[in-house]
Symmetry: C2
Subunit: 438 residues, 2 copies
């Protein structure tokens, strides 16, 4: 499974969601000073949950895991770290539960912080996204990549002033949800661009491809004269080289329409989208769109350091809520029953007045590490106990009645086949383990 | 390990902290309407973090996992559930980090909800606490048990009016931190009891023992006339019977001074405390005190149900932060190095211009599920790469140079012994797996 696979699992710090880590504690706090969060999310700042002033402290709930991670690095003077983090974030948004959008939801982030040679960590982030989406078998997907420096270069050669670069990014970013014509009118109407400048931008941002496109743009008479764009295109070429070595370029598209809404990206940006199968047999198709996204943010840590010391970072956020809503719908559609417990054995009795025998036996099983349950009734009916096994998918029942107590055995029942065998009590644990072997 | 052992692992719903569960989502939200939380925590209500009103909603951060669990059951009309939950809670308290007290900290709860025969789920909660504390080898411990009904019966026979029962509980609860004389003066001074009533209470609440004490109190001329106390003592006897079958009475103490501060308990209450070893060699002894606590709260779910329908519950909260602070200090004292990564292999090169070879090899290892890392540098020195393995405890290095590329082999180095063997590339994954077998 991807979430524990090779590249992902080599990440240095385990997820705090799996329990606090004894040695290092990379969990950045859920509540941060309000000014920590404001000014990092552009137009989305209005979605931040703020806490009441209760004694001179203005705090806010985290909006994502990236800004708290950057603050954590700065506050602890860490210049080098690779970690993943699965935890909840909060947005005052309108929930859309069918699409996996909630006000409180899990994010699942992977980030590499540190001063390294270009594009090596960036390529690893994309490899991780590829590994997770492949292993989860979510269907066909594509990972769009772009670079903020290329986009800014495009804006520059189209005559846009630098002060408008960030707002232009949010407008271009809408190209995955609306056609170019609408994006163009926003540029001209709301953002005050000349129709010619908008059209010029349109020529670039509608391009997508692979190494060919990178080479073509490196030859582009205007773009190749722009320092930022040239740097971005050079790194993009390097990135494709590394992704070729990783064997994943088949799923990667260099897409100039990808802009990502957030303010803090400074280099490579990327976003993974699921592709709807052409022949869609699912009755209620899930419109999920983007399932992972991220990029390079070299300036964010410096914003939290008193001396402005920078720590370059690149990271990715996996949309686990969206992925789970797809998996849920798929399970629902398949009609398969999913077990909600891991219980291996139900300890049952066929007659009354045998609660003590059940408690003694289950205690033995628990002490041996067997996952066992009993019904919390003094004298449950045997039928009810067996029905419980079938309802919850417990594979074995260990039945102990008066006869079994006298004989020193336990009747082990296979719930599926209904076969029953008397097992000497001292061999019960071994027999259960043997039956449960994969 | 206890946290995954027999009794604990048989709990039906896995911890949301380990990732959201596809089928059921037992995660109660972090933010609740403020009125949900007020009036549940007695004097501790002042420690609740409240959110700013941002559009007519008054919300608060959860103070524990119990009240949100009760609200979850009521809102979803669930009458029957066993689950564990590891997640963060929030308290506007004064942090004391050395004692493992934070404003934001993990709680780890296990609860059984439903109408069952008396004391069977209650005994299971105690068995779980016993299993966890034993398996973690935290040293000697004792689990104190009592029953709110016994305490209330004591108050009643000592002439205390029912309206004062809850506040009397918080006073008695201080007996683990201060001597009886001080508790007595709080009763007389602050709570307005007569010295005789206080002394009478003192005769009872300083008692502790086992089955003998239960029998003795069942014969107590006054207490045995009190309906509540009689019920509580009857159930306590049953509980000890079940705990004997579970083989754990050696660590259980029926202790009448145990009161637990919270308002919502209605029956059995319990608290586990670590005992300091007599011969203490640790330089900085950790004063941790209570590491788990809980009890029965049969009225809480009904408070959230519009029709007041009750769902009896019993549960326990494991103080994982405190347990971790003990484990951390122990590791520190032992001087042992704890690995912070699970990386199995570092892919290294001895010469320059071999980044492509490293990337190709690591990609093969990742794809085979091997946990591998590289240094994010184009041309790192071999010494630096091997030093990194030693510093971080990576056991193997897969070294690929020009000669190895020509020969189709990889030099596999055991970092500890410094032994190196050439392995044919196609056999590398198997050889790594073989070496890493336990």
């Amino acid at each position: 499974m991807g979430l524990r696979g090779g590249v992902w699992a080599s990440c240095s710090v385990p997820c705090p969601g799996g329990g606090p880590v004894p040695q290092s504690r990379p969990t950045s706090p859920l509540a941060s000073p309000q000014e920590t969060l404001t000014g990092k999310y552009g137009e989305d700042t209005k979605l931040i949950y703020e806490l009441q002033d209760q004694g001179g402290e203005l705090l806010a709930l985290r909006y994502d895991l990236t800004v708290p991670f950057a603050r954590y690095l700065a506050m602890n003077k860490i210049t080098n770290m690779k970690r993943y983090h699965v935890a909840k974030v909060y947005r005052r948004d309108n929930p859309a539960t069918t699409r996996g959008r909630y006000r409180e939801f899990y994010q699942c982030d992977f980030d590499i912080a540190g001063q390294f040679d270009p594009m090596i960590p960036d390529a690893e982030c994309l490899k991780i996204v590829h590994e997770i989406l492949s292993d989860l078998q979510l269907g066909d997907f594509i990972i769009k990549v772009n670079d903020r420096r290329i986009l800014n270069g495009v804006f520059a050669v189209c005559g846009i002033p630098e002060s408008k670069f960030i707002t232009m990014c949010s407008t271009v970013d809408k190209l995955d949800k609306m056609p170019w014509e609408e994006v163009r009118s926003e540029m001209v109407g709301e953002k005050g661009l000349s129709p010619e400048a908008a059209d010029h931008i349109g020529e670039y941002v509608q391009l997508h491809g692979g190494l060919d496109l990178i080479e073509q743009l490196l030859q582009d008479p205007k773009l190749s004269q722009n320092k930022l764009a040239k740097e971005g295109l050079g790194d993009m070429k390097l990135l494709f080289e590394y992704l070729t070595l990783f064997g994943i370029t088949g799923k990667i598209s260099f897409d100039l329409s990808l802009a990502r809404g957030l303010d803090y990206y400074t280099g490579v940006i990327f976003e993974a989208v699921l592709l709807q199968p052409e022949n869609d047999h699912v009755e209620e198709p899930v419109s999920v769109g983007s399932v992972a996204g991220g990029g390079r943010y070299d300036g964010l840590v410096g914003m939290f350091d008193p001396k402005g010391r920078k720590v370059p970072c690149v990271g990715v956020s996996i949309g686990i809520e969206r992925i789970f809503s797809i998996l849920e719908q798929r399970v629902k559609a398949s009609g398969e029953k999913v077990r909600t417990t891991e219980t291996q054995v139900l300890v049952a009795t066929p007659q009354k007045h045998l609660l003590a025998a059940r408690l003694k036996l289950i205690s033995e099983l628990w002490d041996a590490g067997i996952k066992a349950e009993i019904l919390y009734k003094k004298d449950p009916k045997l039928l009810k106990q067996l029905q419980y096994c079938e309802d919850t998918g417990i594979p074995l029942a260990a039945i102990i009645g008066e006869q079994e107590l006298t004989d020193g055995v336990v009747k082990l029942r296979d719930v599926a086949t209904r076969e029953e065998v008397d097992i000497p009590r001292e061999k019960l644990v071994d027999e259960i383990r043997r039956r449960l072997e994969p």
